[in-house]
Amino acid sequence: MQTVTLKPRMEIMISVEAENISPDRFAGRTEKEIQSLEVWMGNRRTTIGELFSVKVEGEGGSAAADTEIIMEGDFSRVKRIGEGMTAGSIMIKGNVDMHLGAKMSGGKITVAGNADSWAGREMKGGEIIIEGDAGYYLGSGYRGETCGMRGGKITVLGNALDFVGEHMCGGEIVVKGNAGLLPGLSNNGGKIIIGGSTSRPGSEMAKGTIIINGAVDEMMPVYRQEGTEVVDGVTYRKYTGDVVVNGKGLLYVK
């Protein structure tokens, strides 16, 4: 196992685009090689080494699966960490900016703090755990796309903002806290579990499951109530819809 530890060398105000921070890009590379990988700060092309201290420990061979990235400090202005990663792990002991783990298909990302919007965008596999809060569009798609998250699992221990799992086609999202407006909007598969409260869940849901354990502030007027059902030992009111799209979606509300 090769462990790469990154720490910011300065306070970052202008967002850094750092899709190169990924086990796939770090695997089998020396400290120097990792330092020289490209990142962008605004319109300036720079390197990982300019912005972060890099420490490599252990031998990992060339496989992403054998690569662990540990990030210590504040990364709340660093976007696209772990984008497209296929294996390995990233542990972030702080906050991160947008597009964490976008398009990832394997491996595991853990954030001790908060993740900004679009975490797990278009995710295909692997796991993201956000111990703090998530922003908007958790596990959703890119603008105009018909599919958001297709596979894998995202867990948020805190709250998430609006549009959780928009256009979701597969995989699982668990938000332990509250979710904002319109979770599961236009979804076509997958499962969303919300521990706390939310509003307007499942609009235009064609397929998929949404389970809500807290209060629903406003229900969509497009669901058919089908009595109650026990899921994992808990009794829920069961709804099907969205009838507008002849949806086969399942909505469970405690």
Binding site: Y142, R143, G144, E145
Partner: protein, 570 residues
């Protein structure tokens, strides 16, 4: 500025050159017989040379193209290339930005492209985009098939007024020719309805699609326009529509051409060679269309070849697009234009294992391979309806290699075996055929043979050199090489200037815009304009004074003169 291209294997069908080593001399942007010893020399080293590619039907500019872009940021994010010192950024695949359109065509060795549909009222927008497309020459066909004045004059059988309206409409739109899309249907879509055949009567206007088509052909020939009527048939997108297509082509027999070309160009046959009565018994009738073409001299067509993967359908055929959106549960753009026509935009993804898509894939190829004369079937994908134009090299390779076709057929839905004839067609086109379908034929169909589509003296010095030695390649076997060479020209020369070298853009001159200035007797225009003024006073939402496209929007014009009387410069 002089240039001499030596040592090339030249395919120039118009001048009867089939792979001979011929030198090409260029001076001041034109091909000439001879240049001086000071000429810059390009040694083609035995590689394939053709005239610059000419595309007679592509959707590259205007309102519906931009609607496609706005609707599809997910498409725009594909194919992005950052700016360089020479080029602006490229974006998009099916709906590329203006720069990517010019660069990618040039990189394939294409130098002239025609936008296939603009409504007069939205022509200013079309020209704003055409102005921004770098390198290539271009033009736009103007929609006349559902315009209220057209239908009024057809009903009144007043061909003089109709000719005056067409001439004025071409001037107003800076258009190159007459396009008719689902004639009559555009008006009916105004109330959400459609015509269902050539003899349906359009309510309130009391005309039929057949009457509109024949009348437009008549005035097209009265005016002696360079191009013929360019027809998108009625009933497009409906199983069984090949009958409507054949019946439409029959109409061409009623009109004599005014020049050495067809009187009707029927476009994107992949979308209207459909047999069957529903999606269940859907089948290809491209063979019947080819049979018609083999026995007719005044109709030409283009393939509208389907390419598997992402496409964006866009057409003035409003009702077919609503039907598509509903069928596919896809997003839908609609853009009716008052008094003139409709339009719609719907994304689609063509899948090899979907029987209808596999059959449609076969139709374009069948049409091209079963029609004997390549001058009658141009190579297009009806960009971006059948697929983006960047796939022309794929189509070329399919036409040149039965082996490639058979390999492809193995990956398709089995319906391709039962409902098309493609598996049994062994014909393989040669470089001369390809040069016709992509250059000589398109230029002839457009009526531009004086300067485009060939390499004789007087032609524009638009030339493509491809990294293939025709005498050392077997396209049937080495189809991958064919595809790659046509994708990335070794040289593209536009107006005598090298714009592409080794597949890379090296210069980005502005192209010209072709439009047709057709004159008619003043008295015809005067009486026609009385009607037009009435329509603006009562029905249009803008004033007549703000309707016509101003010179400011056509900064590099190439005006082609035509008309019913001897023409004087306007």
């Amino acid at each position: 500025m002089e240039l001499l291209i030596k040592n090339g294997a030249v395919y120039d069908p118009i001048n009867g050159i089939k792979g001979d080593k011929t030198d090409i001399s260029i001076k001041n942007g034109k091909i000439v017989d001879k240049v001086s010893s000071r000429a810059l020399v390009i040694d083609a080293g035995g590689r394939l040379i053709m005239p610059g590619g000419v595309d007679a039907h592509s959707h590259i500019a205007g309102a519906k193209v931009n609607v496609g872009r706005v609707m599809r940021p997910e498409d725009t994010r594909a194919g992005i290339i950052p700016r360089t010192k020479i080029t602006r950024p490229y974006t998009g695949y099916t709906v590329p930005n203006v720069y990517a359109i010019g660069y990618r065509y040039a990189q394939m060795g294409y130098t002239t492209v025609f936008e296939a549909a603009q409504a007069i009222m939205k022509a200013r927008h079309t020209h704003e985009e055409l102005e921004e497309i770098p390198i290539i020459d271009k033009g736009a066909l103007t929609l006349f098939g559902s315009n209220w004045p057209t239908m009024d004059y057809v009903r009144e059988k007043d061909m003089d007024k109709l000719a005056a309206y067409v001439a004025w409409g071409l001037l107003a739109s800076r258009g190159f020719g007459i396009k008719a899309v689902n004639p009559g249907g555009g008006e009916m879509w105004g109330f959400g309805k459609n015509v269902s055949g050539l003899d349906d009567v359009v309510p309130n206007f009391d005309v039929t699609p057949a009457q509109i088509i024949v009348s437009l052909m008549k005035v097209n020939e009265m005016l002696g326009l360079p191009h013929s009527v360019h027809l998108h048939c009625n009933n497009l997108g409906k199983p069984g529509n090949y009958k409507t297509t054949l019946a439409s082509m029959e109409l061409a027999k009623q009109v004599k051409p005014s020049k050495d070309r067809q009187v009707m160009h029927v476009t994107h046959l992949t979308f209207n060679s459909w047999g069957g009565t529903n999606w269940g018994d859907f089948e290809s009738k491209a063979d019947e269309i080819a049979n018609f073409l083999n026995n007719s001299e005044n109709v030409t067509t283009d393939m509208g070849q389907l390419i598997f993967g992402s496409a964006t359908t866009m057409t003035a055929d409003g009702p077919v697009q609503y039907a598509n959106a509903k069928l596919l549960h896809a997003k839908w753009g609609n853009g009716d234009v008052e008094l003139e026509d409709a339009s719609g935009v719907v994304p689609i993804f063509y899948v090899k294992q979907i029987s209808i898509h596999a059959i449609m894939w076969a139709m374009g190829l069948e049409l091209a391979l079963l029609t004997k004369d390549p001058y009658k079937v141009l190579l297009t994908t009806d960009h971006p309806n059948g697929g983006p134009f960047v796939n022309y090299p794929e189509v070329i390779a399919l036409l040149m290699s039965n082996k490639k076709r058979q390999e492809e057929i193995k990956t398709l839905n089995e319906a391709v075996h039962k409902r098309t004839r493609i598996p049994g067609i062994e014909r393989e086109l040669d470089f001369n055929d390809i040069a016709i379908m992509t250059r000589a034929g398109s230029a002839k169909v457009l009526g531009l043979l004086d300067t485009k589509g060939h390499l004789g003296a007087g032609a524009d010095a638009d030339i493509a050199i491809y990294d293939i030695k025709p005498d050392q390649i077997d396209p049937s076997v080495e189809h991958a090489k064919i595809k790659s060479a046509f994708s990335s020209a070794a040289y593209t020369i536009k107006g005598g200037e090298v714009v592409v070298k080794d597949g890379q853009i090296v210069a980005t001159p502005a192209g010209r815009t072709f439009w047709v200035d057709a004159s008619v007797p003043d008295q015809h225009t005067d009486i026609m304009m009385k009607d037009i003024r009435m329509k603006f006073k009562n029905y249009y939402s803008i004033n007549l004074a703000n309707y016509m496209v101003e010179d400011a929007y056509v900064t590099h014009p190439n005006v082609v003169r035509a008309g019913v009387i001897p023409v004087t410069a306007r």
